[in-house]
Symmetry: C2
Subunit: 412 residues, 2 copies
Amino acid sequence: MVSRSVYKAAGIVEDTRGIAHRVAQISVSAIKQMPVLASKVGGCVSLGQGIPSFSTPDFIKEAVIDALRHDDAIGKYSLQPGIPELKVAIAKRLQREKKIPYINPETELFVSCGAMEALAASISAIVERGDEVILTSPNYSSHIEQILFAEGVPVFAPLIEEKGWQLDLHAIEKAISSKTKAILLCSPANPTGTIFAEQDLRAVAQLAIKHDLFLIADEAYDFLVYDDIPYFSLASMPEIKDRVLSFYSFSKIYCMTGWRVGYMYAPTRIIDQVLKVHDAFAICAPTISQYAALAALRETNGKDGKGDESIRALVQALRARRELTCQRLDRLTTLFSYQKPKGAYYIFPKILRSGMSSMELALALLNEAKVITVPGEGFGPTGEGHIRFSFGGTEDVINEAFNRIEQWAGTL
Amino acid sequence: MVSRSVYKAAGIVEDTRGIAHRVAQISVSAIKQMPVLASKVGGCVSLGQGIPSFSTPDFIKEAVIDALRHDDAIGKYSLQPGIPELKVAIAKRLQREKKIPYINPETELFVSCGAMEALAASISAIVERGDEVILTSPNYSSHIEQILFAEGVPVFAPLIEEKGWQLDLHAIEKAISSKTKAILLCSPANPTGTIFAEQDLRAVAQLAIKHDLFLIADEAYDFLVYDDIPYFSLASMPEIKDRVLSFYSFSKIYCMTGWRVGYMYAPTRIIDQVLKVHDAFAICAPTISQYAALAALRETNGKDGKGDESIRALVQALRARRELTCQRLDRLTTLFSYQKPKGAYYIFPKILRSGMSSMELALALLNEAKVITVPGEGFGPTGEGHIRFSFGGTEDVINEAFNRIEQWAGTL
């Protein structure tokens, strides 16, 4: 289900002599490869990788500048699980946002090189070769890579597109086998922007209890919910505290994608094991980025801090970009139909042009319209027939991209 | 050969229910765990983890401050393999230092979250379950973790202690089997400070050709050589260009341990595969750290740049610290004998006190003398009976640590 088309499109012939199966079987992520292809095309605008246009807020950058001038420790390794003060601030944030009575900052969380590092390390720590992990389809392609890397088997439970890409509980239950080790859910979801309903998440939690499974909750977009939709986090359920591994990032909420800092909350015994992988791959998260993260959390209290203000402004701007994106898609009804996203900054329209694969469309848009997008095929078996647009870019970028797409569509 | 004593010492009982073998089998690194234990003891001085006392040079920090104020891209993802300009600068550095005629910066290298990430990713990419990797003993414990993580089998070829911990070619050849996939060498070596002799490295290269093996060269300390000893890099041998994977770091050379930025040089086809792992674990190296790395290389020309000056000052200071460390060890001849290191900032003395394991000694020094060290047992089968001291700390720290050790020794 993971194709090699991007490689082929890039004219790359893979030579996997002597390469371990766990890596040879993984396809190169289209999300990361499209910008590389685009750099060869030149003059492209991007609805591709999820890099919002916003800069890291000034109050964070100024705190880092101050530390660069006055605190030598900023250039040195931190303790391997992270700066203790940052871990305390993270515990507070999670307790407040997820309504968790108490989190031990010393043992129940650690700071990682972005949520991705903690996710990859955790999946490697709990998935034995041949173990199955249930994912939604579509699902963020990196999770698929991470499961394959651990020599696990991704088993897909399709989302219900016509219900706004909500969970299909029946499909999830049907996917459970004696080899199932975990269920992985990403909410708000990438690439669909779904906020999974609380009742469905509670039902999945019951399935996990019943079948003794881990739950892997990628909540990197947990702050980014539109229309006052209620957001529910698996981390807030005490009855699954011993089996839920939750992942968070500073990348999206504070416009810090390049800083590579995130964190994980899980039972102590799991953190202990995942730290072994963290040690082998990363030693510690970048110390300077941990300083930035601490500056961000210090100004965030859930009410009126500079961090809260920047988050509110971000959500407001992205809501407007979502509206714009939907309006522009409404003018392309012969090409696309879509489910309006409720969170994150992705939309995953269905391609209505029959006979055109998602990769063909993405490459045509790249080469002919000079618009970067991500083909749906990499997001699981039901991703084909769709394309992912990010609306993280400015309104100008979004308008320019859709102008080009409209013009290109006119030539068909 | 990897014991769980540090965990035991910390009173941690591992609960590995549901944990994958690749991780459950790994022991927690004593290098990283000792500071955690020490934080509970309080008032310790450190000869432990390799964190030099020096700050990241001001010219690097100022370049980063300037970019924080004027370049929004510093907060965003870079291209996954690294900032193109940085890759060009890295290629230039390698060409100059390793006398390599040409390196393609686009395809033959990538920028990682420290050398460790690239090493772990590469070992995961080439080591299939059950494959053997030949290491020296002693050897840096993280390499052992990385091989175990890939479900490979570390096979140790002892170094010759009485010859200053040089390679034993016979032992390496004897260690080769039909399952051998690679030979891993770290020169200047951690924990022994050995500079492996050119003729021996050339002989190992011939073995690799003869038996069709990869060579993994961890050269994170390649700038740190004392006494004008000639340093030879496997990366400079054209006849093994298709099989050598070389790893470098900004951590030591520019006192940037906390920035988590390094790089890897290898055949294009290997880079292509390792980037899949990099994508699943890291996405990209921290962009801000890549800016710092670029600032460092811009001021380094092998002659009279600010970077060259800071490297020279660093080597000079560390040479003095090595002398001091050896002088202090010369006053402890009933406790230790040692081989004088020729590079890096580690010394690996033999423990002369019979019946005392390296862990017992390290814990006694921690709890009774309040000095952090690293027990030798984690560095491979012949590491036991030794202890690692880092002389990265200031002369004051080194003197204070040895004062305490002397006082403690007086109580025996």
